[in-house]
Symmetry: C2
Subunit: 343 residues, 2 copies
């Protein structure tokens, strides 16, 4: 039987499989350490569009199309699409994927959204309500800077604690069968922990790693308790976009709670760019960061047997231009998903 | 067994119950035709806060608190909260309900969000992943005008096709038992139809009823097919906020598809204000409109046996300030939820 596990976690009776997935990124991500692993790298960051927002719509559209192709499926094979992005009123989602005409359940969890879409996708399939689902998220450096910070033309200087929003989109096709017309599935999802809003009162939108780390720590502690497990049970514990500052805060906070994750911890934002040569400071961030890293790099490690079991924990900073301008803090949220190799 | 029904619908094996619910509204809504039915009417629309956004946060917080009280439950009795609003990055949700420390799954579907939260809440409970859930949405006239249109101080004139964003929040406690510590449940949810993005290319953000009506028509047609049913099977078919213009468009579009809903159709936006005396033009709108009307008026009719079975269909216009300014259209989406009296 599917079950609630502890206070905030869930365990599907049967695992739900990631049948296939796709990643598409911008030029800068293509030049980074994971560059060769992405399915598609854009020639320029407008992706043939007139605006940054349209470019981000195109990212979602292409990621979903590619994921469907790789899985050998058509839009009509998909029951629901769970999707989200960072823009006001989820603009990239509303305009990006409508061509597929798949029933849409829109999601918002800032940069934790990839974890939330996977959680809901698993619930819908393991609950018997869907055959196959797609989970997709995106972000775009230029649309995000415009939405949250300063116009690019202003040439604002960024402190070393700032992260660089990833231009990219990752899409995942979920289903209940380990193998089928889609070939062999890439991995299986065996548990989820839903996060709460955690607010330490930090107000610096140029240091989102520190703002999100307490939420990541809270979800991790809850996860270990709910599943009665320890960090050593995972080959990797992979946060979304804490960056180098947030990573230190997370490891310290968890040490205070009695957990040492320093051996297992990895952060998608730290992996995706070379901070030194790419001038990205603390690391990458955005809804697209964890999604493309999961699709291109993490699932590959699971497929190749380098890792057996990981905890994927996208982290979100719940700020808006309005909340920032009104002097409010930047609360965080993080959702955890247990992903295992098919073996 | 829970099941997918047709192309876009779901049927839980056992109904999920609306254990209790609460509504809180602003002064104008309190003066409207449903005014006496709401649980709480604010004395002024700032609800004691310094900004419109904080006021909307307070709406969500109070609606959830009231719903918990009425159900005799505490925050720790709730597995998950599904929540959303209209503001950029769902600000009212991020800051409004964090005090309860309930694991949060944030949702965005514009004004269809209330239907989406109920759909996901039912999935989580019927799927065995949650004991009890809360679904909450909100909107606020002043924060919405600022987010989507003009500063209030500008005194912009509004065409007759415009709607008036409802200041209010509705919260619903869902569970699997018809009766318990929470008393007798208010109603039960027996089916859901998830909508697609439907874009007829309309660009008038002052006529959102016309923008959303094609999406409502598409979801209704899909619903009738998926459940092999007809409009006459429902005592009422209740859209969220089409208003008077959208209502005419919806009825006409469905007539072309072979369905006549003119007898059953009701719109929360038309019910909540007296357009003549309250100068609200086509009707009320917003995430809060359908939520407070469902809680205060629709569930009461089901409890009193005046209606046995209704289809609740909140409708959303997927626009943002950015999409509007970039000349894009206003696509719509609508999610349907079948609600029946306990009997």
């Amino acid at each position: 039987m599917n079950q609630k596990s502890g206070k905030a976690s869930m365990k599907p009776e049967q695992p739900v499989y990631i049948l296939n997935s796709a990643s598409i990124v911008g030029t800068k991500e293509g030049q980074g350490p994971l560059g060769l692993l992405f399915d598609k790298v854009g020639e320029d960051d407008l992706f043939g569009c007139a605006t940054w927002e349209e470019a981000e719509c195109t990212l979602q559209k292409e990621a979903v199309g590619l994921a469907l192709d790789k899985a050998g499926l058509k839009p009509e094979d998909i029951s629901f699409i769970f999707a989200g992005d960072l823009l006001g009123q989820s603009m990239a989602t509303s305009f990006g994927i409508s061509t597929y005409q798949i029933p849409l359940l829109g999601v918002y969890g800032a940069c934790s959204t990839c974890g939330e879409t996977l959680t809901l996708g698993v619930m819908s399939i393991a609950g018997g309500f869907a055959d196959k689902c797609i989970c997709v998220t995106s972000s775009h450096f230029a649309s995000a800077e415009k939405e949250f910070r300063f116009p690019l033309e202003y040439g604002n200087q960024r402190p070393l604690s700032a992260t660089w929003t990833v231009t990219g989109s990752g899409a995942f096709v979920l289903g209940s069968e380990a193998a089928g017309v889609h070939g062999k599935a890439r991995a299986r999802i065996t548990g989820m922990t839903v996060g709460k809003v955690v607010d330490y009162g930090l107000k610096d939108s140029m240091n989102m790693g520190a703002c999100m780390a307490p939420a990541a720590a809270a979800t991790l502690e809850q996860h270990f308790k709910d599943f009665d497990t320890v960090p050593e049970a995972y080959d990797k514990i992979i946060t979304g976009d804490l960056g180098k500052v947030g990573q230190r805060v997370l490891i310290d906070l968890l040490r205070d709670k009695g957990y040492d994750i320093s051996e297992q911890h990895m952060d998608c934002g730290i992996e995706i760019f070379d901070g030194e040569s790419q001038d990205t400071h603390a690391g990458g961030s955005g809804c697209g960061c964890s999604a493309v890293t999961l699709s291109a790099y993490v699932l590959k490690q699971l497929e190749e047997g380098n890792w057996k079991k990981i905890l994927f924990l996208p982290t979100g900073a719940l700020l808006s231009k309005t909340s920032f301008n009104e002097g409010m803090s930047v609360p965080g949220i993080a959702h955890g998903v247990v992903i295992e190799s098919i073996g």
